[in-house]
């Protein structure tokens, strides 16, 4: 996502990152995930999966924000994201009541 200026709370807010998991052999190459990923993290791979389709692959590792859009839009249950272990700023810890 492109900002026109740095958000004022950029130093306080943790941007939750995600990790993409691709089950390549389930993919049928529809490219929905590649098209609609808001961070453009995916491209269609040049490799073939076992069925002869091009599955997606992650090209911008570390930029997935775990929005789960790919997971929701994939008709094949072939891709999903989970929260990554580390957040990217040392700001307010998640779940802090203050």
């Amino acid at each position: 996502m492109r900002y026109w200026r740095t958000p004022l709370d950029a130093g306080r807010t943790a941007c939750h990152l995600g990790e993409v998991f691709i089950i390549a052999d389930r993919c049928k190459g529809c490219a929905f995930c590649v098209e609609y990923c808001p961070r453009d993290v995916l491209v269609m791979s040049a490799d073939f999966n076992r069925k002869g389709y091009h599955a997606p692959e992650v090209i911008k590792s570390g930029e997935c924000v775990n929005c789960n859009l790919c997971e929701m839009i994939c008709p094949e249950f072939a891709i999903f994201s989970l929260a990554a272990d580390t957040a990217d700023t040392a700001a307010t810890p998640k779940g802090d009541a203050s």
Partner: protein
């Protein structure tokens, strides 16, 4: 020269062993994945949204049943890990009626396609809506009879080509939200399979409501409808929805016709609190019969020692 028998691979691993599970795994029959739907078909997306809605609403999966008819969308019952019934063409709604009336505590969802539910199943559709039967109906509309090879459907837009209308359709199609609303449905919404979040929220809303709840989901059919009408791939279909779908909650259902490759109005159109068939039945019998009335218990009419 020896000829080798062609081997068919049926041992695709569900996923590489070191991977975490796909989050929808508890809701799917993993022994049947990958499913039969074509590349670029939107039905799988709708099933995913439904699984997510079930999860978010913490539905008791033991009490949830899914009933499908015949057709591509009708295969959905076979992939969801609920009590699933793959019934005859067009008869998913009355079958689901029997399930619901035989065991009132069930959450019964009908998952089927436009041809199945509004063509052969049209009569059952309008009567269940009229009665406000407590069913959640997810109708996936791809404007065609897909599984049988691309025949004209009651929802095929004017001028669209199909295998039985090779020169273009000249029959006016149904406006399904209008049909359901005018018959008495208490919740009517339409989304496309691109609107994954709003579709999931609509399903979650509908799960919490009661009565005849219709969610029409527009989905691409790359193999038949799109191919016969030169509309490209499933992705081209989603791009079309992106550019031509308009969200108008509360729109008058008379204005929801879909013309060929024109705008698609989406949103929640009807959301009313109306008594369901069962509520009316119980209230009425209580009123008329008083203490003599013995309703069927929520656990159903199964008699045992």
């Amino acid at each position: 020269m020896t000829t080798e028998k062609v081997q068919t691979r049926t041992d695709f691993p569900a996923q590489p062993p070191e991977f975490p599970e796909h989050p929808s795994t508890p809701y799917l029959r993993m022994d049947r994945i990958p499913h039969v739907w074509c590349p670029g078909c939107g039905i799988g997306t709708v099933v995913k949204c439904f699984a997510t809605a079930l999860e978010n609403k913490e539905v008791d999966l033991d009490k949830a049943s899914v009933v499908s008819g015949i057709g591509c969308s009708g295969r959905a019952a076979g992939y969801l890990k609920l009590d699933g019934f793959h019934t005859t063409h067009g008869r998913a709604i009355p079958f689901a009626t029997g399930l619901k009336l035989g065991r009132p505590e069930l959450l019964v969802t009908v998952f089927s396609g436009d041809g199945d539910l509004s063509g052969i199943g049209g009569n059952h559709f309008i009567h269940a809506a009229r009665r406000n039967m407590d069913l959640l109906v997810i109708l996936i509309n791809n404007f065609i009879y897909g599984m049988t090879g691309g025949q004209n459907a009651p929802t095929t837009p004017l001028s669209a080509k199909s295998s039985t209308m090779p020169f273009g359709n000249f029959e006016p199609p149904f406006n399904l939200p209008h049909l359901a609303a005018s018959c008495g449905a208490s919740y009517v919404a339409r989304w496309t399979c691109l609107h994954i979040r709003r579709l999931t929220w609509a399903m979650e809303e509908a799960i919490e409501r009661k009565g005849f709840r219709l969610i029409e989901v527009i989905a691409p059919c790359p193999t038949l409808y799109a191919r016969l009408n030169k509309l490209g791939t499933g992705l081209d279909g989603l791009r079309f929805y992106h550019d031509n779908a308009e969200i108008r909650h509360g729109a008058d259902t008379r204005e929801l016709d879909i013309d060929f490759q024109k705008g698609i109005v989406c949103g929640r159109f009807v959301d009313e609190d109306k008594p369901t068939f069962s509520e009316r039945m119980n209230d009425h019998y209580n009123h008329v019969l008083g203490e003599k009335y013995r309703p069927m218990p929520p656990e159903g009419g199964w008699l045992h020692e």
